[in-house]
């Protein structure tokens, strides 16, 4: 989180798991009804969020597992999302202390770069596997994901910002 005067409550592991499952659920929604390429990648969003805010709990391992889940759900080449998620999670971890104190909009630009990088990585993997070059709309999803960064971060922090009762 950016520098703040708030005292934050600790995050329960169940919340992390719940949000990740919800993200998976959101990704599984039938986005093809409004066009496949517009779908923001909620799983990547949550992964990045938790990696940035809870680097000791969520890391490359989670990214790999969720990536495999996404690959199976999307019917992609197995390991494609896993590789991309692992790489961007690592990149966040390597600059975690720096990114963490940025204001939200700067974080969002970082997220945009990371998401585009992930898309490029996946496109490269598909190219090597023999697929065609994707259309430019392929990169609309990362843009939407980056836009979602600020509201989603605020929403999740709202839980942590709840006032701690006096008795504690």
């Amino acid at each position: 989180m950016p520098v703040t005067s708030h005292l934050l409550r600790p995050v329960r592991p169940s919340l992390i798991i719940l949000t990740l499952i919800c993200a998976l659920l959101f990704n599984l929604l039938p986005w093809q009804l409004i066009g496949n390429h517009f779908a923001p990648d909620f799983v990547a969003l949550m992964l990045l969020y938790w990696t940035l805010n809870q680097p000791r709990r969520v890391g490359v391992g989670w990214a790999f597992v969720l990536g495999v889940c996404m690959d199976v759900a999307d019917g992609n080449l197995l390991g494609q999302h896993a590789l991309a998620y692992s790489v961007i999670t690592y990149l966040v971890l390597s600059r975690q202390r720096q990114l963490n104190i940025f204001p939200y909009w700067q974080q969002a630009t970082a997220v945009l770069g990371l998401m585009v990088f992930a898309q490029l990585l996946m496109a490269a993997v598909r190219l090597i596997a023999g697929a065609d070059l994707p259309a430019i709309s392929y990169f609309l999803g990362p843009l939407l994901t980056a836009f979602l960064w600020v509201p989603v971060s605020n929403l999740l922090l709202a839980y942590q910002r709840k006032p701690v009762s006096e008795s504690l």
Binding site: G61, F64, G67, V72, A82
Partner: protein, 291 residues
């Protein structure tokens, strides 16, 4: 060194190490999937785990879709039903017209058959007289076609009436049901001669002044007797419906139904006037000619 480190600082392998491990694993997965096709089972297992989530995510949308389909199907069905109903109505109207044409054709054929036996001309009914007190029809044959007052109009089943007035293009036919219109008839079965009277439009015909012991009973067919010289003999006029013999009355009350379809058809046959008979004897007292 590692063993003496407090547990708090234990973070496992470094992120880079983890990345290397997992990206190697990812690449191994990709190669195994793309090149060797040996990861079908792994995919199946993960898919089983994912299935509840997939179900949860897609079910509301599928339900929405099927609901919309259902509603669409409903409206489509209603529209189609309406269209089919319209078509059915149109077809029915057409069929009814066909029926009418067939019936008309049959009647015209029958009239034609009659016509070959007696010189006559075909007349189409234009309209029925508006006067509620008399039963009259207007037909489309008049003076120009040689129609004269006194000619007889028949249809396929029997006598309809008599031409009473002619104009250039039309003529009036007084129906046998008209009040006090008289036709000399005889019963076909027992050859009892009498006169049948009309009682007004839409009413039954009546035979008056017949002796109580006359041989007449319901179901008898009355045909023209031909005695008046106006109606050719042998044309069916009416069928006896009821014979009431009342003790106090001098004459039985005999009601008859016209044999012809008085109110039904569109075409009539106007018989040519019979050749003029011999002149009446000079001191003729009373003749039974119908007017």
């Amino acid at each position: 060194m590692q063993a003496t480190q407090p547990a708090f600082f234990k973070q496992g392998p470094k992120p880079l190490t983890r990345l290397l491990i997992f990206s190697t694993l990812s690449i191994a997965l990709m190669v195994g999937d793309a090149q060797l096709q040996m990861l079908g089972r792994v995919r199946e297992q993960v898919a089983i785990v994912l299935y509840p989530l997939q179900w949860l995510a897609t079910t509301p949308f599928a339900a929405l879709h099927s609901t919309r389909d259902f509603l669409t199907v409903q409206t489509d069905l209603i529209a189609e039903n309406r269209k089919l109903n319209d078509q059915l109505l149109a077809a029915q109207a057409k069929a009814l017209r066909m029926d009418g044409l067939a019936a008309e054709n049959a009647q015209l054929r029958a009239l034609d058959y009659r016509r070959t036996k007696a010189p006559s001309q075909l007349a189409e009914i234009l309209y029925s007289g508006r006067d509620p007190f008399s039963a009259k029809l207007i037909v489309d044959r008049g003076d120009n076609q040689g129609v004269q007052a006194g000619q007889i109009a028949i249809d396929t089943q029997g006598v309809v009436g008599q031409v009473v007035r002619t104009q250039a293009m039309t003529s009036e036919i007084r129906l046998i049901t008209d009040r006090n219109h008289m036709v000399p008839v005889m019963t076909q079965r027992s050859q009892v001669r009498t006169v049948i009277y009309g009682r007004g439009a839409g009413q039954l015909l009546e035979v008056r002044y017949l002796a109580p012991n006359a041989d007449i009973k319901p179901g008898d067919l009355l045909v023209t007797s031909g005695l008046d010289g106006t109606y050719p003999s042998g044309l069916p006029v009416a069928v006896v419906v009821s014979v009431e013999r009342v003790a106090g009355a001098s004459f039985p009350r005999i009601l008859c139904r016209p044999a012809a379809g008085i109110d039904t058809h569109r075409f009539l046959l106007i018989l040519d006037p019979p050749p003029a008979g011999p002149a009446y004897p000079a001191p003729a007292a009373a003749n039974a000619s119908a007017s």
